[in-house]
Amino acid sequence: MRNDIFSVLRRSPFFASKARCAAVQMIAVLACLMAFVTVAPNMAQAFSDEELRNIAEQLNDKSATTKVAVIEQMAADGDPRVAPILKAMLDGDLYVRDSDEHVVIATKKGKVYTHIDIVSGEESGESSSKELSKIKVNNRLRGALRDALATLNLFSPDLAVRTAAVEQIMDARDPAMLPLLLRAIDREEDETLLARMQLAEATMALAAGETTDERLAAILVLASETTPQIRAVLSQFVASAEAEGYQPEVVEAAKDALESVERRLSTWQTVGDVYRGISLGSVLLLAAVGLAITFGVMGVINMAHGEMIMIGAYTTFVVQQALAPFLPSGSAWSLAISVPAAFLVAGAVGVVIERCVIRFLYGRPLETLLATWGVSLVLQQAIRSIFGATNQQVTAPDFMSGAIEFSTGLVLTYNRLWIILFSVIVVAGIAAVLRYTAFGLQMRAVTQNRRMAGSVGIRTGYVDALTFGLGSGIAGIAGVALSQISNVSPNLGQTYIIDSFMVVVFGGVGNLWGTVLGAFSLGIVNKFLEPVAGAVLAKIFVLIALILFIQKRPKGLFALKGRAVEA
């Protein structure tokens, strides 16, 4: 019976193409709905088994145009078995089995692919990749698949799936989906999603609306929200107002709405800039805080500081490789273990450098500079010889992938959020060590007056070695964090060494809080300049501003009071 209505509608000349398409989709969705509520699944299958198999085979057609048509036809038919097929195709899991030319969904387990029959939905054997040929998708097909899935998923019982479908419809803004969306609005119970649906409806109704009232109502809904899509919809509407001959009051209202949306978006843009500035600042802080100890407290110009960061990143890589057989992929444990491991490895290298090279050069900054620069080259080439010159892959744990996306276009990526948090923890940890431990006390004593510290029985050489080790170890910890956002390559350290020195010099040598403030202010200034001047000029401006600032205040933001070590 349902099939009959279907075919009548399809053939009917009274249906204009858009309306017909919508009607077909409506019925498709009805059928789909029934599939969800009905007890006997067979009742809802619009395709016979044979038909489904045949039409799915056409998905392997050579022409993308044919494939798109097939996808639309399949989605329109409302068979509940279609959605998993299209989903698999979108994910690249749809294959043609060479043995019987059947289309199967195959998922990889180890080296074996498990086949799932598209008709029965049950497992139908397994094979190696050689017996399967993948059904190819390109970006055009992915777009078509996502649109088709959105129409199918609009009535899914799962709220998250429905929400994703609405977002997709909002992006596509295809007026043919409007009747379908209206049906979904009638049924929707979740208030947040309902508001999104009405917003999506308004984006389409603005252009598709027939009367002035309908358009004004749509503008009213649009003006209450703040997303880049709405800005696009409104500006397109205003731009085409003259050609389409809309009423002046509608155009006026649209212009007002556009202005208010743009104003709010620019506020969000500023919020975004500040966030990105803080994020860049936290990276700079992590990179520089170790240097704040070796250069700031000890006065050693340590050009090999970047290489300590690199050693930390490589330690993360090695730990991850070593633990890979024991942990599931995406596990956070390897990263958690990497933090102390990187501290120890980089710290140990730091102590060795201090004992073998730097301690002979205290008080001779130029020679220290040259010697540590040489050490940095040696370390880089050593890593290159051991691991090769190419990048190494450090996989991000699940909790660090993805982002919180606000509808206003602001995106807060998880890895950056964690790095901000991590940098705060590291700085708090260092502050605590300096303030509350015996070692911290000795360190401060040696910094303030080496001779006096020595005469009250502090082993200054021992404290020097440990301090250098602490600074290097912290650089190693920074390497763990940076491995998540940057290359793990022998050149990793060079990227950060200059920025690190800038932060420490700007913040004031020998002052931890100066480093914190220096890092965040440099980050934020950089991120506000970048959109205006471009990344290259922004860096130059910051550098020039820094030089001028140092001319005015040679000791940086916070000058260390009292007698600094041998300075």
Partner: protein, 424 residues
């Protein structure tokens, strides 16, 4: 009896002297120079090419060498230091007396060695895709010119299958290759009816690591309602953080596809590519190409480097083509003399790894097929589009008015790399 003995001794002596002669010949080897950075920023890319040349030399020697002589590779390390490239090139040519040099990656390093090769009349094979606008008598360019990579890629983006892009973002590293390529592209796009307000151009320093703002800007630029695509000429280390940021900010290839000209299998080796599936790259070769020559090449590479996980890439194929072409030209000329080999190079044909034939044209550029590949979750590329036949490399772009009128042709009657009319 006595005579027999004499004959035996004589034969022995002859055999002995023949052996001695061949030993003397073996000591007299053909030297080839390898001028790739093995330390510094570019080591990440160039070390692989050094290994490729060593593998090809090794292979050639196993098969009897060249002109009956063994080939010896002289490897130097210019350490990603552009002026040092020129010094090392001079050292290779004057001190080591190499017959040919395979080397350079960045355009700035090539520009640095160019005067040395021209002054000493030696020969350089340059294996990397570049911005064009150059043709030297002493350099053979085996990588892609802009018309063999950039232009077809943009055509694909604007086609229906590529998504029908109407707004283009040009992202690049701030140096000569991206700037020139984007200049050509802008002029080409304007000709295709894409106005300047639909083109966004942005440059970043080498090794740029914080892509948050730029990716957010791209997102904002793409939200205007027109289909947007990104053309990336970002080079080297900056690519990994760029792609990580793209993935984390959830930019999907079907919304904003990114086509890259400097990202191959090797660059992707450092990234988890699952969130990047569908982003594109344009090259003349991908490891995933199905051909017998390619399968044999990959097998040989894995055996030579001793690591099954190492990938192959486009500049490696360009090195392979260049090396084999030089070998054939030397055999044809019967000598390694630069002028004779150069003459033999023109029209030289070598089977490429994608199942076709590479031809050296008189403008010192190759005819190559253009392939567009999509990133897959295993770090390989799936070819989604390719040219019907091969495309002749164009030294001087037709889309820049000042270079459109220039011709590069090193045979009679032109004999010139940048002339408006023939020399003779």
């Amino acid at each position: 009896m006595n005579k027999k003995l004499q004959a035996l001794v004589g034969a022995g002596a002859m055999a002995w002297s023949a052996m001695a002669m061949s030993a003397a010949q073996a000591a007299d080897t053909i030297k080839v120079g390898v001028l790739h950075s093995l330390s510094g920023t570019m080591a990440i890319s160039e070390t692989t090419l050094k290994d490729t040349v060593l593998m090809l030399v090794d292979d050639l020697n196993k098969n009897g060498g060249l002109l009956g002589k063994q080939v010896e590779a002289v490897v130097v390390d210019p350490a990603s230091d552009w002026p040092l490239f020129a010094e090392k090139a001079r050292e290779l040519i004057e001190k080591d007396q190499v017959s040919v040099v395979f080397g350079c990656w960045t355009s700035v390093s090539r520009k640095s060695v160019l005067p040395v090769f021209e002054e000493l009349n030696s020969m350089l094979f340059y294996p990397v895709q570049y911005e064009g606008e150059e043709s030297s008598r002493n350099v053979f360019y085996t990588g892609a010119a802009p018309n063999q990579q950039a232009i077809p890629a943009v055509d694909y983006l604007m086609s229906e299958d590529g998504g029908g892009a109407e707004r283009i973002v040009l992202l690049g590293t701030d140096y000569v290759y991206p700037r020139t390529t984007n200049k050509i592209l802008r002029s080409y796009l304007n000709g295709k009816g894409i106005s300047d307000e639909d083109i966004m151009e942005n440059y970043t320093p080498f090794g740029h690591s914080d892509w948050q703002s730029i990716v957010a800007d791209v997102k904002a630029f793409a939200s205007a309602g027109k289909k947007t695509a990104v053309v990336s000429t970002i080079n080297g280390d900056a690519n990994v953080p760029f792609y990580k940021e793209l993935a984390n900010q959830g930019i999907k290839a079907e919304d904003i596809p990114v086509v890259a000209f400097s990202v191959g299998e090797e660059e992707l080796a450092g990234i988890d590519t699952a969130p990047l599936v569908g982003h594109l790259a344009a090259w003349n070769y991908f490891q995933s190409v199905e051909s017998d020559a390619n399968a044999a090449f990959i097998e040989k590479w894995h055996a030579f480097i001793g690591d099954e996980k190492r990938v192959t890439n486009d500049p490696m194929e360009a090195t392979y083509i260049g090396f084999n072409m030089w070998k054939q030209a030397v055999e044809q000329a019967g000598t390694t003399d630069v002028d004779a080999v150069r003459q033999a190079m023109y029209g030289q044909e070598v089977a490429n790894l994608t199942g076709g034939v590479a031809v050296m044209n008189t403008n010192h550029h190759l005819s190559k097929p253009v392939l567009i590949g999509e990133v897959q979750d295993d770090g390989q590329f799936d070819i989604v589009w390719e040219t019907e036949g091969t495309v002749v490399g164009d030294a001087w772009s037709d889309f820049l008015p000042e270079s459109a009128k220039l011709t590069a042709d090193w045979t009679y009657p032109w004999v010139c790399g940048n002339c408006e009319k023939p020399m003779y």
